[in-house]
């Protein structure tokens, strides 16, 4: 109705009729994202698919596309070394999971008690995480050395018949690796749990004090259930690390004695680059992928399926 309005209308009508073409919009952002897109598609998707496809071939020294169906997998699951690897992974995995969670939780609960020197303790528990698995493997190999390590010390103290030589005992060598792995990995999980505990409403602690609940009972009955997300995250982290274990075994035991401490990751590398048997390597690595998927699917369901219901 006013002059202002007609002027405004005219201005809009006179504006240059130039709409940006859809794909030109945000062009700099798209160009900047090219590395990510390339990586995602070529390496992660492309690479994985390539490997999986070639696991059905007869490739030996060089990759070839002559398909042989499930032959590589049959061979794989008939190989003693592979079976030992998987068994080791299972034992190592379950023990690692249980012990890491328990140790990390207990340590975190102790540090949560507002003690003196908390920072110092935390620094000590976490520094192993900063080291390479090679370093960890080598130093624990030395500590468990029967001639100079723990066995010698105990014998020197007067316990003549003491034996502690896990790295030369095919039955328990995997536990020698476990000791080293726990040393390196518990610190991080402890920090995550401690952060989770600190995030709990302080009033809950007041309420349990007024109700007369003891400290450790509070941790077990009240705090742990409240930390469910933290436990799930920890579980996934530990599990992801377990499947990939390689450096530690290579350094500490080289898979020995014999093949007693072999793990799938080592099987893959050895077949692919040392034994010139690409097909087996592809099949084994595909199996590793399957293992990871088996871990992730329940996690994804827990995280996202629950949300849809709730």
């Amino acid at each position: 109705m006013s002059d202002e309005q007609t002027n405004a209308d005219r201005a809009i009508a006179d504006a240059p009729q130039r709409k940006p073409i859809k794909w030109l919009r945000y062009l700099p952002a798209k160009i900047a994202s090219i590395p990510m897109i390339l990586t995602a598609m070529v390496v992660f998707v492309g690479g994985s698919v390539w490997t999986i496809v070639h696991s059905f071939t007869k490739s030996r020294l060089l990759p070839k596309l002559d398909f042989v169906g499930l032959q590589q997998y049959e061979r794989l699951w008939g190989t003693k070394r592979w079976l030992v690897s998987v068994e080791n992974l299972a034992i190592f995995g379950i023990c690692s999971l249980i012990f890491t969670l328990i140790i990390a939780f207990v340590l975190a609960a102790m540090l949560d008690r507002k003690i003196r020197f908390e920072d110092a303790f935390r620094t000590i528990f976490l520094y192993p995480f900063a080291l390479s698995f090679i370093v960890t493997g080598l130093v624990w190999q030395w500590i468990l050395n029967p001639d100079f390590g723990i066995q010698k010390i105990m014998q020197g103290v007067g316990w003549e018949s003491f034996t502690f030589d896990p790295l030369n005992n095919p039955d328990i060598v995997i536990f020698g690796v476990l000791i080293a792995a726990l040393w390196q990995g518990t610190g991080l999980i402890m920090c995550i749990m401690l952060a989770g505990m600190r995030g709990i409403d302080e009033d809950i602690w007041k309420a349990t004090r007024v109700d007369g609940i003891s400290t450790w009972k509070t941790y077990v009955v009240v705090i742990i259930p409240m930390m469910k997300p933290v436990f799930i995250t920890s579980l996934v982290l530990i599990a992801a690390g377990i499947v990939k274990v390689y450096d530690l075994v290579v350094a500490q035991t080289s898979g020995g004695p014999g093949i007693a401490s072999e793990v799938p990751a080592k099987y893959v590398y050895d077949k692919m680059f040392l034994s010139q048997n690409l097909g087996q390597g592809f099949a084994a690595s595909t199996m590793m992928l399957v293992m990871v998927i088996i871990i992730l699917v329940p996690y994804a369901y827990l995280q996202y399926g629950g949300r849809q219901r709730g």
Binding site: I204, K206, A207, V210, I213
Partner: protein, 359 residues
């Protein structure tokens, strides 16, 4: 002489160099609803936590029902507590929350059931017993929190700002319920808040705290009508009390060119003289017909008018100082107009300028 339920003697609390509570003395009568009121940092929550046993004092003693509980654990003091965030155990049902402490104390099953049924009935949470806290509304959670204290079968209830997390309407509703609950149960209740409305409506007595000390302990009526110092006078009442600087001599306060004859005002010390603060609440200023019999009248110029529906708040100037007058919501006043006001000294408060104590 009323029986004393909770007694605090010479309580001192310091965190390092910071003194939070100073030589606090307070007696809470049996069955009374005592409110600890103050702004943040005044020490009200600290005092409550000391009484509960969640915080340790540096010196002093605490008695509950005659027993010295200074060193006793919270669960041994005969108290129940309701927290600002309710602190309900999220993974247990309401029933679980109520019974957790009792089960831990090895109370027999039948007794537990009896107490839960009683609490559920009093607080009307029977239909909620099987639900988890996550499925409850704010008001329901608050009632469960009270229930958890109720089943402990104790004499003293402690409330730490329990309504602060709720929206205004819910707060008003629950305030009424709390009052009803107190009437029904007749337990001693000590209640911490920064909200003066809650304090005035719920309390039998209010303790206004500032910097770790009690400024005044009295009934809402006393605190409102006879504040003992300027801080209390300023704290209570919304909109806040008007303060005029003047000089008191022989019963007359001279403020600028105005002389206020303080006839009818009850002086603590009748012979006081010197510089003073004269305090008058906006709602005690007379307008319209009421001004005719007032001991003091004058005309002021209206600066700003704030209509709130129920009232009309008028900001004017008196003796070069801003001055608020509360008038009826239907009053029609425009900025720039003049307004005749009257003041009755009996309703006023006079404070010494230096000490800020009531004269």
């Amino acid at each position: 002489m009323q029986e004393v339920s909770v007694s605090v003697r010479k309580l001192d609390l310091s965190f390092g160099a910071v003194t939070v509570l100073r030589q606090l003395d307070i007696d809470v009568h049996d069955g009374e609803f005592l409110v600890l009121l103050g702004s943040s940092g005044c020490g009200k929550s600290t005092l409550l936590n000391c009484i509960a046993g969640l915080l340790e004092a540096s010196d002093g003693q605490i008695f509950i029902k005659g027993t010295n509980v200074t060193w006793a654990e919270p669960s041994e003091r005969g108290i129940g507590m309701v927290f600002q965030s309710y602190a309900l155990y999220p993974q247990m049902t309401v029933e679980g929350n109520l019974s957790f402490g009792l089960k831990n104390a090895r109370v027999p099953k039948a007794e537990i059931k009896k107490r839960i049924d009683y609490a559920a009935q009093v607080l009307q949470i029977e239909p909620l017993l099987k639900r988890k806290p996550g499925a409850l509304s704010g008001g329901q959670r608050q009632r469960v929190a009270i229930g958890r204290a109720l089943v402990r079968d104790v004499d003293v209830f402690l409330f730490d700002e329990p309504l602060s997390n709720l929206d205004a309407k819910l707060r008003a509703d629950l305030r009424v319920e709390l009052k009803r609950l107190h009437n029904q149960l007749e337990n001693t209740m000590i209640y911490v808040t920064h909200d003066q409305i809650e304090a005035m409506t719920l309390a039998d007595r209010i303790a206004i705290m500032k910097s770790g000390a009690i400024q005044q302990l009295g009934s809402p009526d006393e605190i409102y009508n006879r504040p003992m110092n300027k801080y209390v006078a300023d704290f209570i009442g919304s909109p806040a009390m008007n303060f005029l600087e003047g000089h008191l001599n022989k019963g007359v306060i001279q403020v600028g060119e105005h002389g206020f004859p303080m006839t009818g005002y009850e002086f603590v010390d009748g012979n006081a003289t010197g510089d003073v603060w004269l305090g008058i609440r906006p709602e005690h200023i007379l307008t319209g017909d009421g001004t005719t019999n007032a001991a003091f009248q004058t005309t002021v110029e209206v600066d700003i008018v704030e209509p709130t529906g129920a009232d009309t708040l008028v900001l004017a100037t008196l003796a070069d100082a801003p001055f608020r007058v509360r008038m009826d919501g239907q009053a029609r006043v425009r900025p720039g107009e003049t307004l005749v006001i009257g003041i009755n000294p009996a309703a006023a408060s006079v404070f010494d300028k230096e000490s800020e104590q009531r004269l």
